[in-house]
Amino acid sequence: MIIARRDADLPATIESVRRQVYETQRIIVVGGDKDARRVASDNGVEWITSVAGVIETCGDVTHMWFVLDGVRARPDALGALVRGQARLDASVAGSKILDEKNPDRLLSVGYATDVFETPYTGFDEDELDQGQYDVVRDVAAVGGQSTLMRMDLARGLGGPDTAMAPVAAAVDFCQRARLRGARVVAIPSSEVLAHNDHDELDRWSERAGRIRAMIKVYGPLTLFWALPMAFLSGFAQSFLSLFLGRWRFFEWIRAWLWNLVKLPNTLHERHAARKGRVVGDAELFRYQISGSVALKSVVTELSDRIRRRLPGEDQFSVEAVGEELRRPSFIVGAVALLFVLLATRSIWSVGLPAIGFSLPFPDSGPGAISAYAGGWNPAGLGSVEPLRPFIALAGLIQTILFDNRRLAEYILTVGSWLVGIWGVVRLLRTWSIRAVAGTLAGIVYVAGPAAQAVAQETAVGVAIVIGLIPWSMRFALAPFPASWGARVGRITAVAILAGLAAMLAPLTLAIPVAALLIWALLNFTDGTLWRAFGISLGGAVLAVPLLFPWLGTADLYRFVTDGEAYWSLPIVTAVIVVIAAAAVLVAAPPRLALIAAWGAVLAAVGTFLARSAGFGSGREIEAAGIAVVSLGVGLIVGPSFEAITRVREVGGWRRIVSGIAVAASVFLVATAVVTVLGGRAGYPSDEYREAFTFSAARPGDPTASRILVLGAPGNLPGDDRTVGGAAYRLVSAPMPESWETHLHTARIGDDALSDTLESIIDGETKRAGELLAPFGVRWIVILGETEMDPFAEAWRTIFIGQLDLVPLGGGLANTTFENEAENAVRAVSAEGTPWTRAGTGYQGTREFGIGLEVRENANDRWGPGDWEQIGWANGVTAATGTVGFEPINSRQSQAIAAAVWLVALTGVAWGGRRFG
């Protein structure tokens, strides 16, 4: 029986079956379209639409030989199968499958599987057939290319499941057969040549077939744990496949959706398959291997790729393991990895520290995305000002990572460091700087004094972007592909990197462009560098649409001038950098010296940007400037370590001077390694968790209220406002999240709060709590840098004499008051029932016929139902149980368009790389 499947070479298959030494009784082509029928007719064989039809018409037949179209069986293939099956009393026997393109290459000699029904051959890639598997043996399954089975078994099982893809169907048939006690064997003496279907295993149809096969054969207990594991394993495989340039999420999702649709039919088939079984799941496990074959395959492939990209040009091989392990590049790489893991360990355990502008990611990743896409900005008393793109990107990554914000924070931080170090290695390899020097430069780049300064500024976006910048430059500098498709792909790849960087920290969009411009100027006559600059510029321009809708509505002047750009330069470190740069300039070979000169220019320009408060520059420019400094220092350190290894070029006095450069660079590496002590990736220690999370332990739901935070300007979470020269701001209880970091321009509610604080400061009330309750302020926390902080002391003086504020003791680090006034909540119904925060909206008990006061800045998009303005706040109905802000359609559309643009860029980049 020849299964017509894909219009493969059916005549050749028919011919190979006809030429069998062991002659067949009938040759039937099954399935396929009219072409298959025509081919069958032309070759004088029967054609039947389905396997079931064949079984019906073959009442006197004892065995059936299934052959897939396109398969070319050797003349004794069937004979060997028949003999082997008869000798072993097997019910199903399969042939050895060889690659039709390379008949010496093994494709399968039967399969083991994992618990997820994924076939496993046990072969190395491109393993040749040298008779090493020529042993008749029992297997979990045989490939569907050439299978001999007993007719009574086929009749009992109903043949292969036609709803499944071929490989999955073969595995499924064998599993069902084994469930009935049948023996499945591989007969290596039976050889067929077939198309290599390995890549098909990742397709949705094969994945879906495997899931269906699991559901059909396993007992309930096995399914209870195996199905969730299959789901997670598939997700992990899809995620890791991203790093191999494969987008597998849709395959994964489609497979599960298909099974959802097919579930009734699958359950019916399950009933048929398990009815009359003579063995249990333990028998099925006999030929299974542990773990996930698919996942292992991806991980192995990924490891190989990483290995190929890592220092050392030799391909990884078992024989070379010992030698590789002794290579400095491997050791340095391993130490770098260990360093990153140690230096970020605290982020694994608690997430990013809550201090300054570093606040935990929003609780809900999808919520963050929708808030960005035209939703409500929950900072302070809320506004319609757009959130920064960082929120959307972080939310997207968090969503992918099971909506686990701590994991997202860790992955972004660790990923940035690893990718950054790796990127510097790759960037410096452009100029033949070897891996050890590159890795050390990478460490200084991601964790050195400048990078630490970025972290100390709690510029989270810039700190993460540091990992992307060298890649963006490397992509632009790499040899330009020959084909236009690949060229377009290259530019779009740069655009993707630039876009991701811009979403994290918009000003960093310009860093690779500016850096490459300086490099081109230093190599004025080198056209390839001007082209690299052009690629980078083009990528940056293409990346701009990704910043919408933020870019369309943000106050860009305020964005670049908020705060004061003044980086207090660490003088000792600066002197060391100057020494290193000068020594490399003097002593290194010309090319290395020029790279160091480039780094020095970048460091100088970055330093100027980071200290340009006098020109009105703000905090964002400062952080971007320090990132430029970090890049420059990395470009100085790399050549300094490389120069000392160029024994032939650097001799005599140059060698001594190079030694000085290395000593200075070692100092910089040492300062980078210091980050291991804190384990926070250079960020300052957490301050706000201790300050705010007490509210979670207070009676009632803390999410119903806000915390008024007071202190010195620049010492509060994120942005602050000032009154009387001191700072204040509102944050959500129990813990503010990153979407609250940046305050909007003051609106009606903010003005009211300012007036209220002024009246409290002026001593016009002794019941400040009563005045603050309408703003949802249930707690007041006064943050002080020192015990004698004049700002904290001033605020304490104001609030300590209030009759309705209760100071909270209990060992709190900061002066903290609790408001005794009634209804100190963010949203309250007319009956006085508080509602709690849910994302950027609120939820609570439904109360019909009465209103709900939502204490956010008034905006008529709050709903549902009729909206009214209550003072500076909103009045909506309490009848629905949930209230929220209706998204702004235009911004939502822009966000979707930006996402589509990102996908399009990704597609073009992938296509260019793959097909160009």
Partner: protein, 492 residues
């Protein structure tokens, strides 16, 4: 060449970066200075803390409220049991108006210090307390400085001195109390970092802590939290109480004595250098400027028997070149121990003939000058104990509640015009009253006493004093129970 150019660029840009100056450092906030002690009422909502109120089986007390505007007043009496809610009385006061609220109507459980909150202003609060044997009263305080001065303590034989520390706030207060006696600074064992629970009070019998002292001044300093202190002095005849104050270079005492009582002035200097103090007396015959002059040494409180300077009655102004604390105490002769040096008799006589004394007479028929020397009936002689901190700022407007509320006692308003011009003063009842407004001319450097009818007669418990010049006002209440002096509350 390229390296040289790069080096030059680096040097130039680097140098330019280095010379960038740091932004101007943040200025400290323009608020947060602990409030100075003030006794004036402002036009804003306010809270008045009344530390010494007792309402029980033997004693009655009233919270006396006065306001120039329509206000809602809330009197909150904290419960010493922290698990129980405070007792609260809410009152609507039509302005200008005055009302006295019997503390016993709110709660009658003995000591009941309270807070009076007004939702608008100017509005003020005082308290009066009496029994069959005592009569005392205080003005309440509106500001809560970190350091309080309580001048005039005596723990000599026959006196009982108590310190009331009232903490109306939720936060527990930690205070340190120091005594300055005739022997210098005396540490008070057990009163360092002394805890006063939130929304509660502590009454300490200082007579047992530092007994047999003729002179004791106390400073109460808050380390954390805030308290409102008050001293309570008892002898066998009466009780006097007065709140803590700040320090000032000017103290005005419109009333210093009543018939039968001898006025004494207690001055304390807690600074580091001696304070040169001058005492002006304002007699019915005219002012006696610099009637006495002293250098008050640091940490050496001083009691001056004013009757040695001139024949009472008179008003007093104390001037100093450094901030000092001052209080007037009045009691029958011989009650207070003598520690000062009696000046020669003739010097006093010389002072009394001061040529600078204005000779204006308050004779206009529009006036009700009661300070004249016309013949009168046999004066009533009082036997009691009164004390009062002075007023630090003469003002043109004063609110005087709590008039005529003590049964059987005489109440008078005392107005001092310390300036060298005559002042026209309008005394108007607060609210509907049988008493009508009247204008009084007070000659320069004189004072007037305006007797007030009882509340049952006038239906009015408060007066608004409007003057053409800054004046200083106080109230005396005297009856068979005892005597009380209450400082006025100006409208700033």
């Amino acid at each position: 060449m390229r390296l040289v150019i790069a080096a030059i660029v680096v040097a130039a840009v680097g140098a330019f970066a280095l010379v960038q100056t740091e932004p101007v450092a943040e200025r400290p906030p323009d608020f947060g200075v602990p409030p100075a002690e003030t006794v004036g009422a402002s036009g804003d909502p306010s809270a008045w803390y009344c530390p010494w109120v007792v309402s029980g089986a033997l004693r009655d007390s009233t919270f006396n409220l006065g306001s120039m505007m329509d206000v809602n007043a809330t009197i909150t009496l904290p419960n010493p049991n922290p698990t129980e809610d405070p007792s609260i009385n809410e009152t609507r006061l039509r302005g200008p108006g005055a009302r006295s609220i019997d503390a016993g109507d709110i709660v009658r459980r003995g000591t009941a210090p309270g807070v009076v909150e007004f939702d608008d202003g100017p509005a003020v609060a005082t308290t009066v307390m009496w029994s069959e044997e005592i009569l005392t009263g205080d003005r309440c305080v509106a500001s809560v400085p970190k350091e309080w001065h309580l001048v005039g303590g005596i723990t000599a034989e026959g006196f009982t001195l108590e310190l009331q520390l009232f903490n109306p706030f939720a936060e527990s207060a930690k205070v340190t109390i120091e005594a300055i006696t005739e022997f210098g600074r005396s540490p008070l064992a057990g009163f360092e970092s002394f805890d006063v629970p939130g929304r509660s009070w502590v009454t300490e019998d200082l007579s047992r802590v530092i007994p047999f002292l003729d002179m004791a001044t106390f400073t109460v300093t808050s380390e954390s939290g805030i308290v409102i202190p008050s001293l309570i002095l008892n002898n066998e005849n009466d009780e006097a109480s007065w709140p803590g104050t700040g320090q000032s270079t000017i103290w005005d005492f419109p009333v210093t004595s009543l018939p039968g009582l001898e006025p004494t002035l207690v001055i304390s200097n807690t600074g580091s250098v001696g304070a040169t103090v001058a005492i002006d007396l304002f007699t019915p015959d005219g002012p006696i400027l610099d009637a006495d002059g002293r250098i008050v040494a640091p940490l050496e409180p001083l009691r001056i028997h004013l009757a040695d300077l001139a024949e009472p009655p008179f008003a007093v102004r104390v001037r100093s070149n450094a901030p000092i604390g001052a209080i007037i105490q009045a009691a029958p002769e011989g009650t207070f121990p003598r520690t000062d040096i009696l000046p020669p008799e003739e010097e006093v006589g010389d002072e009394s003939t001061d040529e600078d004394a204005p000779d204006d007479e308050a004779t206009d028929e529009d006036t009700a000058d009661t300070t004249g020397d016309e013949e009168s009936e046999e004066p009533v002689v009082y036997d009691g104990l009164a004390a009062m901190p002075g007023n630090t700022d003469p003002l043109e407007r004063w609110l005087v509640p709590g008039l005529g509320v003590v049964p059987g006692a005489e109440t008078s308003i005392w107005i001092l015009n310390p300036s060298d011009e005559r002042a026209t003063v309008t005394v108007s009842p607060l609210g509907v009253s049988a008493v009508s407004s009247e204008k009084i001319v007070i000659p320069a450097g004189r004072y007037v006493e305006i007797p007030m009818p009882s509340l049952s007669e006038s239906g009015n418990s408060g007066m608004l004093i409007d003057a053409s010049l800054p004046v200083s006002v106080a109230v005396s209440i005297a009856g068979p129970q005892g005597v009380a002096f209450i400082g006025g509350v100006g409208v700033g």
